[in-house]
Each structure stands twice: as C-alpha cells, then as structure tokens.
Symmetry: C2
Subunit: 224 residues, 2 copies
C-alpha cells in the first residue's frame, strides 16, 4: 500500500468518491470491531456466535471497499484516516451496557448510517455506486436483531422505554458526528448539496432518512 500512488490522469478519481469509499470502508472496519466486542454481552453462546457472524460480514465488506480504493489509485489507509476520530467519538459516546443495547445499536445506529451512505452512493458513477449498494445490502442478520429486540420490547414496557431513549441517543450521536464529517470533507458535502440543486432536495433527503428510521423503530416495537 503506497501513499504515493496517484489516480491515472486519463480517468481522474473525484475526491468525493475517495471520501465516500474511505468513509464506508472505515465504517465497516469499525462496525466489525464493535460488534465483535459487543458479542461478549450476549446471554448465551448461540447469540454470541450470531453477533460474531454479523461482525464478520462487515469485515468482508471492508475488504471489497479497500480493494476498490486500491484499484482507483487511492491509498485505503489515507482514505480512511479522516474518519478514525469521528467514529471513535461515536462509539465512545454510545458504549452499549447490555445485549439489547448492543443489538439496537447494530440495527438502528448502523441502519441510519447505511441509509445515508446509500443516498450518497446514488450520486457516484458505476461501478462504485453498485459496490456501495451491494455492501450495504448485506443485512442478512437484521431479521435476527429485529426478532430479539421485538421480543424484549413486547414483553416489558420498561425495556421499551429504555430502548426508545437509547435509540434516540444513537441517532442524535450519528447526526452530530455526520455534521462534523460534513464540515471536514468538503468534496463529499459539495457532492451531496450540488446534486440536489437546491435546498428542497437536501430536505427531501433528510425526510427519506427519517421515514426509513421510523420504519426501523416500528419494526422493533419502538415509537420514534
């Protein structure tokens, strides 16, 4: 991995694309680590293994994104570095205290982030658009998380209340860190804002994110 590798002059790689791939790649690496650690909160071996398997999906996705960064002449490490402190801040401020909080974080927190990445992916050209969408589509463990959380929220009003507050905090932290990223990654932010053409388009994007988030909350028995 050489940091002196440059994009071929014939097909200049946009800074925004490298920003996006780096962000999603580091998001996956970081999600892997957190989910692998949070698996220790599982109440039994079966659930511990299930969360570990969820984590492993993330690292496989990371590999595809890192490979693509290399292909377009970017250094994967350099592309991910801007996101290290932001993700660290997010995870430090949302350390799950138990199994249900860990699952809710994986489902609700990562869900919002994934929706946002998907929106940005629509703004870049192929094959990167499809790569990001593919990677984010890998949610085969959502069903497991939904069933686990739903069982707990249906059984107990106190748990429902506690997880509602937790989910709200998760989304608040995601938005707060996203704002930080927006301020720092100018090329990426410009891509999002310019693509819409006007403020209404950006507002529509946020509306779509909100609707998808509400649907996830309902699916686990929580109101938004």
């Amino acid at each position: 991995m050489s940091s002196s590798a440059a994009a071929p002059a014939a097909a200049p790689v946009s800074e925004a694309l490298v920003d996006l791939l780096g962000m999603v790649a580091y998001g996956e690496l970081s999600a892997f680590e957190r989910m692998a650690a949070d698996a220790r909160l599982a109440p039994d071996l079966r659930r511990r293994a299930a969360m570990s398997e969820m984590a492993a999906v993330e690292i496989a996705n990371y590999g595809r994104l890192a490979a693509r960064l290399g292909e377009v002449g970017a250094d994967p490490e350099a592309a991910m570095t801007p996101y290290v402190s932001v993700l660290q801040a997010y995870h430090d401020s949302t350390e799950p205290r138990d199994w249900l909080e860990a699952l809710t974080k994986a489902y609700v927190g990562d869900g919002v982030a994934d929706d946002f990445f998907r929106e940005v992916a629509k703004l870049v050209a192929e094959p990167d658009r499809q790569l990001v969408l593919d990677v984010l589509h890998e949610r085969r463990y959502d069903e497991f998380a939904v069933a686990e959380i739903r069982r707990a929220t249906e059984a107990d009003a106190k748990t429902r209340h506690r997880l509602s507050m937790w989910a709200r905090r998760l989304v608040g932290e995601v938005l707060s860190q996203a704002t930080r990223v927006a301020g720092q990654r100018v090329a990426l932010t410009a891509l999002i804002i310019e693509s819409g053409g006007d403020q209404a388009a950006v507002q529509a994007l946020f509306r779509r994110l909100t609707i998808a988030h509400s649907a996830r909350m309902s699916s686990i028995g929580l109101s938004n």
Copy 2:
C-alpha cells in the same frame, strides 16, 4: 437450537466426535473474539484490518462446525460449553501486551492447538475428518504473521528474546489447558489413547507436535 435433540438411534454419534467438534468449534469462536480484540493493538489501519480479516476466517469456520453438530443431532451450545472455562483461562493467562505478542499468539499458540486437532481428526470417520482438516487448513494469513514477526525478530535481538519467552509461555499454557481437557473429556481422551494401541503411539503423536512447533518457531526466527 434445542438441547433435547438426540442423535438418531440408527447411527449413534460417538461422544468423542461431539467432544471433538465442540472443542474445535469453541476454539474457533474464541479465536475470533481474541483476534478481533487484539487487532486494536495493530500499529496502523492496514495491519488492523489484516488481523480483523484473520479473525473473520475463524468465525466462518465456527459456522461450519456448528452446522455439522446440528446435523449429527447434537446441540452446538451444549457441545461447546465444556470448553468455555478452559479457553477463558488460556486467554486470561496469555493476554498479549502488544502487536507482536498478539501475532505470535495467533501463529504459535493457535498453531499448536490446530496440529493437535488435526491429529485427533485423523481418528474420526468421514465426513467429520475432512471437515475438521478443512477448517484447520484455512491458514491463509500465516504468511502475513510470519513476515511481520520475522521482520521484528531479525531486526532486534531483544525482541527475539522477548518473543521466544512469550512463545514458550504460550505453549506451556496450551499444554496445561490441554491436560485439563484430557482429564474432563473422557471419551475424547480414550479415543486418542486407544487409537494408538500403546504408549509409544501417544509418544509419537507428541513428537510430531513438537517437530511442527519447532518448524513454526524457526520460520519466525525464534529457537525453541
């Protein structure tokens, strides 16, 4: 996953086979968790990702073994439970303090354990023999570990000495925990001892393990 599931009467599954599959399955799950955690010791993102990818291989292997346990009518969770405290004791007593210790643990410690599992695998019938051998053959990251450790041991005599001591401690702990398992899992121990027919065969097994361990030590620039 039901603990009341029983082996079909027509093809009774030997207790030793369930012991073996449960031991290897839990070994993989446990290796996944430790390697995922130890990846945080990596000096940079590239190496951190490489160790995370090594970890992910283990959890995929875990999945194959757990599925096979289910197929033979055993409860994966029950089959793994006897090994939880032994592996915990091993990992607690061999907590790596830095990146090189973590790599050496993954390469030398897991290497000895894998060799032992391979020896036991030869004593069970197909398809389980091949399954265990397949799973243990997945060492595509050995090259990475060897290159990293070798570079460090060749560059510095103090590091060489420190890692030699560390590797010795790892093997000592593996043997100590293996002895505990041998005392507890009677069916498995009987399989190993009876298969050889006499004490000489068991001694030959230990000689093979020692030779393979010495070869691994040499490959990373350490004497045994």
